[in-house]
């Protein structure tokens, strides 16, 4: 066959080798630092100012909740009616409320029940939700059908409304543990659903089949392969949910059916203060601000964690 005549600009061209070095096909970069999904997430988090702001706030809140006595020497329950509605003074930076209690001390001491309820409820919800969701997603069949219907039923009941009803029934057993249990009972279906979805999407991966083909048992596949790969959405949801549980506790306490009067709580104080909103607005301002800041910091944390862990945002 004769050679096809070439047109201008289409002559046989090849680059000089020194300009285009051919690399070793598929070599490993041995000098790079090893990275895992979690390390990648950490690298991303580290560069977000919002992450550091949220971390700082949460750290402060947790320390306040654990050791309120470090921040004030005043007893929040030692109220003296002669101090009623007094403005700020030395040692009492926020002033006094109508009952003559130190607002600063009450705001500080109010952190503990809020954070306790938030953290414990989240732990309860994650434990129940993750276990139920994982079993439903992994083993499927009738258990999955039943679980899906049960979660549907729970979804149909407004979370706070249900808590109000149950808490009013348990009026005489009010306490931190009761609130945690009630919130937990109505809070887990969401996590169960998220876990189920995550497990379902991982369940059919080739690496799960590979584990099965090399003889790993079903349970160990679930624990060793599927759950670690489903953890990210659960963590993200849990961080955000922590904030909403604190709000729920404050709502219940505000309505007078959450924590009893004997426990110093932001929700209770806000409830007391609302009646005096016009006369002494600072009484409402400080517990409300503390509550808002706490919830905001957890939701902010959830937000940045989601950005770092969301598989869609993940590179490669």
């Amino acid at each position: 066959m004769p050679e096809t005549p070439t047109r201008p600009d289409q002559q046989h061209f090849f680059a000089q080798l020194d300009e285009t070095p051919v690399g070793v096909v598929d070599s490993v970069d041995e000098s790079a630092a090893p990275a895992s999904v979690w390390k990648d997430a950490w690298h991303q988090l580290r560069r977000r100012p919002m992450f550091w702001v949220a971390t700082l706030l949460i750290a402060v809140i947790v320390v306040v909740a654990l050791f309120p006595q470090w921040f004030t020497s005043v007893d929040p329950k030692a109220c003296d009616l002669s101090n009623s509605s007094l403005p700020p003074s030395a040692g009492h930076p926020f002033g006094f409320n109508f009952q003559g209690c130190d607002i600063y001390a009450r705001t500080i001491y109010g952190a503990r029940p809020s954070v306790t309820v938030g953290v414990l409820t989240t732990v309860v919800v994650v434990l129940i939700g993750a276990v139920v969701g994982a079993i439903a997603g992994f083993y499927g069949k009738w258990f999955d059908s039943i679980l899906s219907r049960v979660t549907d039923i729970f979804f149909a009941i407004p979370f706070v409304l249900a808590a109000i009803v149950i808490m009013s029934v348990l009026y005489n057993q009010r306490g931190i543990l009761t609130v945690v249990i009630v919130l937990g009972v109505f809070g887990w279906p969401q996590i169960a659903r998220i876990t189920r979805g995550a497990v379902l999407s991982v369940k059919n991966s080739d690496f799960v089949t590979a584990a099965k083909a090399l003889g790993a048992s079903r349970a160990s596949t679930l624990v060793r392969h599927i759950m670690p790969n489903s953890a990210a959405p659960i963590i993200v949801y849990a961080t955000v949910a922590l904030g909403t549980f604190i709000v729920a506790e404050a709502t219940l306490s505000f309505l007078g059916i959450g924590l009893p009067q004997s426990v110093v709580s932001w929700g209770g104080d806000i409830s007391d203060a609302q009646r005096r909103l016009r006369a002494n607005p600072v009484e409402l301002f400080y517990p409300a601000a503390a509550l808002a800041l706490t919830v905001l910091s957890f939701i902010m944390m959830g937000d940045v964690v989601r950005d770092a862990l969301d598989p869609k945002a993940r590179k490669r």
Binding site: R7, P8, H12, L214
Partner: protein, 585 residues
């Protein structure tokens, strides 16, 4: 270089192109494209040159990440995300469009330059009828409106090779097969009669036989319309077969360009040389001559007959295998039966490779899963080393798992992203309680060495490795328990050609070394030629032809096998192959 000549151009099919006054249609000079990433700018294309003449077909060839798609997308200003042209010029039809405004580019796109995108499954909007989407292209370019447009839509679809076009135009994308969708996309791409059609891996997602029909049709159509075509492809065989001019890209640079035949016959750049040597579609045609030269044959002999006249017993024997799936029917509670595997029998001799070849939906992967005992057959039996798999109890099954291991297609999905490489390879040893910590670590090192990866890979995670490296890890994991049979389910299909060649060589070496038997599931006959001893060709659940590899390739008995063989891109380059030998060295 030589003076410009303006003789008539004769292409591969013998058709004569009148020289269009010698003016190029598209001229890309020193093109630079950059992407902004978290770690700063990354150069995706560095000084690429490219010329397309009116009516000519040009192909850009390269592996993933070589910048071939980026170059093409820069031409029509469709760079994704943070991509930006930072240097060079793009002249189209005598006009510099390098820094054309968005408005000017709208004029060029569709009307002057058409695009056939890569994935027919995701490039049609599922909520609009096909006809509407073709009409959109007509309207957007001001070609036709109203009744005229409807008539034109039917014409265009018919022209793209859709039978019963008028009725088809009223259907939704999900009612179309992959090949039909690709035809619809071609109709859209050519709707405004552009002077240049950019076809970005137009058929990579399709079965080979469909691919061939579509490409034949596209070729005929563009020749008839006088449209120039710029192919983007990873397949050198396909490129050489379909284009008269080739541009080979590697890591963002054009390493070689020139007439297709010249590049195939006489590649100058080491990368092109490697590519030509590794291209399975070309190699499969050449393996014969390589054998004659006695290079490949010794290797092949070592594989099949090594270790002193290997026992010729059948390590796996599959008898009358049938698998029926229950699929949800039209009405609730109703199920219909789908026969995925229909009376399949074959066997694998110890130390050899049996390939199951077929297009998507042929039931080959179902057979693989049954052999792996991950799926129970509806009827029929699988014997492993003489034992019926269906009679295994839990303990025997656990032992069976040690002896038969899989390697999957997608190296991105078959490794747990949360596991370090060490844990990944160690897992089978741990599950089967082989050795203690120390001996396991030693074994992991050995295995990494076996698949030619440094021991330092151990601390890494799958996300850091390339596709080929991950596939090596998957092989190492499969080898950890010293299995006798490895089921490779499309084990090299997702890899770039050079890496594919390396992995095939590795598998071949390991077979010779360890006396492994492979069940090799693939859609790619070209790959079969390189690795298999026996071939079973499957079609819609049945084995239509089973014979030794040489027999199937040299002497196919069934029309379907012949069709598959003919559809291998580059298979028709045989003419070139002979031509190559005629060329003076």
């Amino acid at each position: 270089m030589s003076h410009p000549t303006y003789e008539p151009i004769v292409d591969a099919t013998g058709a004569v192109h009148a020289p269009h006054g010698g003016a190029p249609l598209l001229q890309v000079r020193d093109l630079q494209v950059e992407f902004m990433t978290n770690t700063g700018p990354v150069q995706a294309v560095r000084g690429a040159n490219l010329t397309v003449y009116p009516g000519q077909s040009v192909a850009i060839v390269g592996e993933s990440g070589s910048g071939k798609s980026t170059t093409a997308h820069a031409v029509i200003d469709l760079l994704p995300g943070t991509g930006k042209v930072t240097g060079g010029s793009i002249v189209f039809d005598g006009k510099d469009i390098t820094h054309a405004s968005a408005k000017e580019m709208v004029e060029v796109r569709g009307r002057q330059i058409g695009l056939v995108p890569q994935d027919p499954m995701s490039n049609l909007n599922p909520v609009w009828k096909i006809g509407f989407q073709v009409k959109e292209a007509l309207k957007a370019n001001g070609i036709a409106t109203g009744k005229d447009a409807d008539r034109r839509v039917a014409e265009l679809l018919a022209e793209a090779g859709l039978p019963d076009a008028e009725r088809r135009a009223n259907q939704y994308p999900h009612e179309f097969s992959g090949g039909m969708r690709q035809r619809a996309l071609i109709a859209i791409g050519l709707a405004a009669r552009p002077k240049l059609l950019i076809a970005d891996e137009p058929t990579s997602a399709l079965d080979v036989t469909v691919q061939r029909v579509i490409l034949d049709h596209l070729e005929g159509l563009t020749q008839q319309l006088g449209t120039a075509v710029l192919f983007i492809t990873h397949d050198l065989g396909l490129a050489a077969e379909r284009a008269e001019h080739l541009v080979v890209m590697y890591r963002g640079q054009v390493v070689e360009s020139g007439p297709s035949r010249k590049i195939l016959a006489d590649p100058q750049h080491p990368y092109t040389q490697r590519l030509v040597a590794a291209a399975p579609s070309l190699a499969s045609r050449r393996i014969q001559s390589a054998k004659e030269r006695g290079v490949e044959s010794t290797e092949l002999l070592a594989t099949t007959g090594g270790e002193g006249a290997r026992r010729s017993d059948e390590v796996v024997k599959v008898e009358n295998l049938t698998k029926v799936f229950q699929i949800r029917g039209n009405r609730p509670g109703q199920t219909t039966e789908f026969k995925a595997v229909d009376d399949v029998s074959f066997s694998i001799k110890r130390g050899t490779t049996t390939a199951l070849v077929g297009e998507s939906g042929s039931g080959k992967s179902t057979v693989a899963n049954i052999v792996l005992n991950l799926l129970d057959p509806t009827e029929g039996k699988v014997y492993f080393d003489g034992t019926d798999l269906s009679t295994l109890d839990a303990k025997e099954l656990f032992t069976f798992r040690r002896r038969v291991q899989p390697i999957f297609q997608n190296p991105y999905g078959s490794l747990d992203p949360m596991y370090s490489i060490y844990r990944t390879i160690e897992e089978p040893l741990r599950v089967h309680k082989v050795g203690d910590r120390k001996s396991r670590e030693k074994r992991v090192r050995e295995l990494l060495d076996m698949v030619a990866l440094p021991a330092s890979t151990m601390r890494r995670f799958p996300a850091e490795l390339s596709g080929g490296q991950r596939q090596r890890i998957a092989i190492a994991r499969a080898l950890a328990l010293e299995p006798e049979v490895i089921v490779c389910d499309e084990a090299v299909s997702a890899l770039d050609v050079l890496v594919q060649a390396q992995i095939l060589t590795l598998l071949n070496d390991l077979q010779a070394e360890l006396g492994l038997s492979y069940l090799f599931i693939t859609h790619d006959l070209a790959v079969v030629r390189q690795i298999a001893d026996e071939v079973c060709v499957m079609k819609t659940g049945q084995v239509v032809e089973a014979a030794t590899t040489d027999e199937v390739f040299d002497n196919p008995r069934q029309p379907y096998t012949r069709e598959l063989l003919a559809a291998i891109p580059g298979a028709r380059l045989e003419v070139f192959g002979e031509g190559i030998e005629d060329l003076p060295a």
